[in-house]
């Protein structure tokens, strides 16, 4: 197993599949009356969150606790070089406290990579700036595999603000590793220059893509982006790239609708779609716990 999970690129096909298979086993724990395994008893997992993210932090916390690890929530919100302690000093502090794993969420791309230089324990990237969010990609892959039965050859459309999305970056990498076919759908302003080097197709036309899609993943689009001229208005964005009822009906019958949350209802996704039977949004949250249990188990369980 790998030492850290910083990027979806750290996972080859065999390792990624092992994580998903392990997550399947972990999911059975959630169905028990006592939702707890003794696996990581005596190990310390630190949640180091520089950004507000109650859902991701809670998901990691539940995952670690179900494995009987001691969990410390180290909230460093608002901290940066301008005020408070540097990331390196925080890392050395956590190191001295004997953290076996540090789960980090940070607004700066690459923060998890830097942290991994300064601590001996395993670092799990829980989202770094606009770079990656590998456990989100794992839970998305897990959700697709459980709903569609496979990942190889599955056609996935990732729709929205790819430029600023760590979810998109991790998903493109992981899905390519697992054999899925990814199409990115976005206004040209919200695609990075250099996207042509990614293992994904690109389209500007959502309606053309939907009929040939097995899973459509809607990314959160911040309304404020229109202030930087990425698109003219929220209304025009929703009209061209939002998933409404009519577009949902253009999908094949078996296709699923995903969203990493939190949603902008009425912007990238219509309430009718978010609440439909095709939507896996709530299921993704539950799967997140199983996948994060699997990641922590495989990163820490192998060491004694």
């Amino acid at each position: 197993m790998i030492a850290h999970l910083l990027s979806a690129a750290d996972l080859d096909r065999e390792t990624a599949t092992l994580v998903l298979d392990t997550a399947t086993e972990m999911a059975t724990v959630a169905g028990r009356e006592v939702k707890k395994l003794p696996t990581l008893r005596g190990r310390t997992v630190v949640n180091l969150f520089y950004e507000d993210s109650t859902r991701t932090r809670t998901s990691f916390e539940v995952a670690a606790k179900r494995l009987s690890a001691d969990v410390i929530n180290f909230s460093a919100k608002g901290s940066s070089v301008s005020k408070g302690e540097s990331l390196k000093d925080t890392a050395l502090t956590l190191q001295a406290m004997g953290a076996d794993a540090v789960v980090i969420r940070h607004s700066a791309s690459g923060a998890a990579h830097r942290l991994a230089h300064w601590v001996d324990g395993s670092v799990v990237n829980a989202g770094d700036g606009t770079h990656e969010h590998p456990t989100q990609a794992l839970l998305d892959a897990y959700t697709m595999r459980s709903r569609l039965g496979k990942l190889d050859g599955v056609r996935v459309a990732i729709v929205g603000d790819v430029l600023h999305s760590r979810v998109a970056r991790s998903n493109v990498t992981l899905l390519a590793t697992l054999g899925a076919e990814v199409t990115l759908v976005s206004p040209p302003t919200l695609l990075p220059v250099g996207v042509d080097s990614w293992p994904a197709a690109v389209s500007y036309d959502l309606d053309a893509v939907l009929p040939d899609t097995d899973a459509v993943m809607m990314l959160r689009v911040q309304r404020e982006r229109m202030n930087d001229s990425f698109f003219p208005s929220a209304r025009e964005y929703a009209r061209r790239y939002g998933l409404d009822g009519a577009r949902m009906r253009a999908l094949p019958d078996h296709a699923i609708v995903m969203h990493p949350g939190p949603m902008n209802r009425g912007m990238e996704i219509a309430p009718e779609v978010a609440d439909s039977a095709r939507s896996t949004i709530v299921e993704q949250v539950a799967n997140g716990v199983s996948v994060r249990m699997a990641v922590l188990y495989l990163l820490l369980g192998g060491k004694s």
Partner: protein, 429 residues
């Protein structure tokens, strides 16, 4: 003053000969170059070059003496083979008045390791809004001739036009940091394949090229001198080639790091590789090397930019851009240009000493060691290999991108007006 006899030096790569250095000048060259009581310097196998001249140095004093001082930067320069450096204006306070440029000038004189020629800011506080007192700086003891808001672009086209015109009165030159600021909001690295992958906001090549094109046209229109700082893209080279073909008075510099390093070094998110303009692609590096060989790019300038450890040992987006360069510039040029045969010793001397001295108006510098010439020269051992250790550098900062890298060329000795500032690779004060 000590007299020196340099034995067996290859002057600008020529046949070995002897040099007598006395009273601030090269008194004689050849077998008769000797005098009783002179200190002998064995230069067997060494190449004598005119003392190097850097058009682009950040000495950080006044304001950030924790990163560099005029004295420590001067020492780094002498150890790198330099006899003159042009100190950029983005200090704190900004070098936008006669008082500040004279202070920097006098600190340089006091250190006595290289000639420190201050550059004056184009606009007050580098804010781009009001023209600084350029004439007062030109008339000051510092005799400023280069003006630059480096670190910031003079983005307003009207301000740039006025500055270009105004400095004609005292044969000044505006050195432009070419970066259209509206295209580089939040930019962290070259915009391309690697920025897309790493999730770092891109700094597009066009932000540099658009300003170079605009300013070349402005310089042509008003008949003024324009110098372009740290050219980093293949497209910029094409625009410079065109501007020169039109007869516009445009010169340009390239940094050693843009001749050697590329954007994929950002992949580890180590901010020691963060610099502005950013490291570019292999294609850009090849174009810059070819342009320097051809002369479309006139000079190598270091953009030596010391930063404290706390400003670099952090998350990439929070780190300050910039790299140390004075002590590694000549080795990088030997590695990227001389050894591959793109430059010979004569053109190395041209790009790193003679031409920058002429652009800066430093009449005592940029002269090959010959009888009667000011004794500003350096001796380099081209056969030696150095391995860069940040702890060995003269700067209090440690932000070299070459740590652990082996490069050709060791600077053995440097003379400033006949006085040894470096002997046996060691600073003499």
């Amino acid at each position: 003053m000590t007299a020196y006899v340099v034995r067996g030096a290859r002057v600008v790569g020529g046949e070995p000969t002897d040099l007598l250095i006395r009273d601030g000048v090269v008194e004689a060259v050849g077998p008769d170059a000797d005098v009783a009581g002179a200190t002998r310097v064995d230069a067997d196998g060494l190449v004598a070059l005119p003392g190097l001249v850097d058009l682009h140095t950040h000495l950080r004093e006044p304001g950030r003496e924790d990163a560099e001082t005029v004295e420590s930067g001067s020492r780094a320069a002498a150890l790198g083979g330099y006899t003159a450096v042009c100190a950029m204006a983005n200090t704190d306070p900004v070098a936008d008045t006669a008082g500040v440029v004279e202070q920097v000038y006098r600190l340089g004189q006091a250190a006595g390791l290289v000639d420190v020629q201050p550059i004056g800011a184009v606009t007050v506080g580098l804010a781009g809004e009001r023209m600084a007192e350029l004439g007062a700086m030109a008339d000051s003891a510092a005799r400023v001739r280069i003006f630059s808001d480096d670190g910031h672009c003079v983005a307003d086209p009207r301000m740039m036009r006025r500055a270009l015109e105004y400095v004609k009165a005292f044969d000044g030159v505006v050195a432009q940091h070419a970066e259209e600021p509206r295209l580089t909001v939040g930019a962290q690295m070259h915009e391309g394949e690697w920025s897309a992958r790493l999730g770092l906001t891109g700094w597009p090549a066009v932000a540099e090229e658009a300003i170079i094109a605009r300013d070349a046209l402005l310089a042509g229109h008003v008949g003024a001198r324009l110098h372009i700082c740290h050219v980093s893209t293949a497209g910029s080279v094409e625009i410079l080639r065109w501007a020169k073909s039109k007869g516009f008075r445009v010169t340009a510099e390239v940094t050693p790091h843009h001749l050697l390093l590329t954007d994929e070094l950002a992949a580890g998110y180590d901010p020691v590789f963060k610099v502005n303009p950013p490291l570019r692609t292999d294609e850009d590096v090849a174009a810059l090397r070819a342009a320097l060989a051809e002369g479309v790019i006139d000079v190598v300038a270091t953009d030596h930019a010391p930063h404290t450890t706390e400003d670099k040992e952090c998350e990439w987006p929070y780190a300050r851009p910039g790299m140390l360069g004075l002590q590694t510039a000549l080795p990088v040029v030997l590695d990227t240009m001389l050894e591959p045969g793109l430059l010979d010793w004569d053109t190395v001397a041209e790009r790193m000493s003679r031409r920058p001295a002429r652009i800066a108006g430093l009449t005592d510098h940029g002269h090959d060691p010959a009888p009667g010439a000011p004794a500003n020269l350096t001796l380099v051992d081209p056969a030696a290999r150095i391995t860069v250790d940040p702890a060995d550098l003269a700067s209090p900062s440690r932000n070299t991108p070459y740590a652990g890298r082996t490069l050709p060329g060791r600077i053995v000795a440097t003379f400033l007006r006949g006085e040894a500032t470096v002997l046996d690779g060691k600073a003499q004060k």
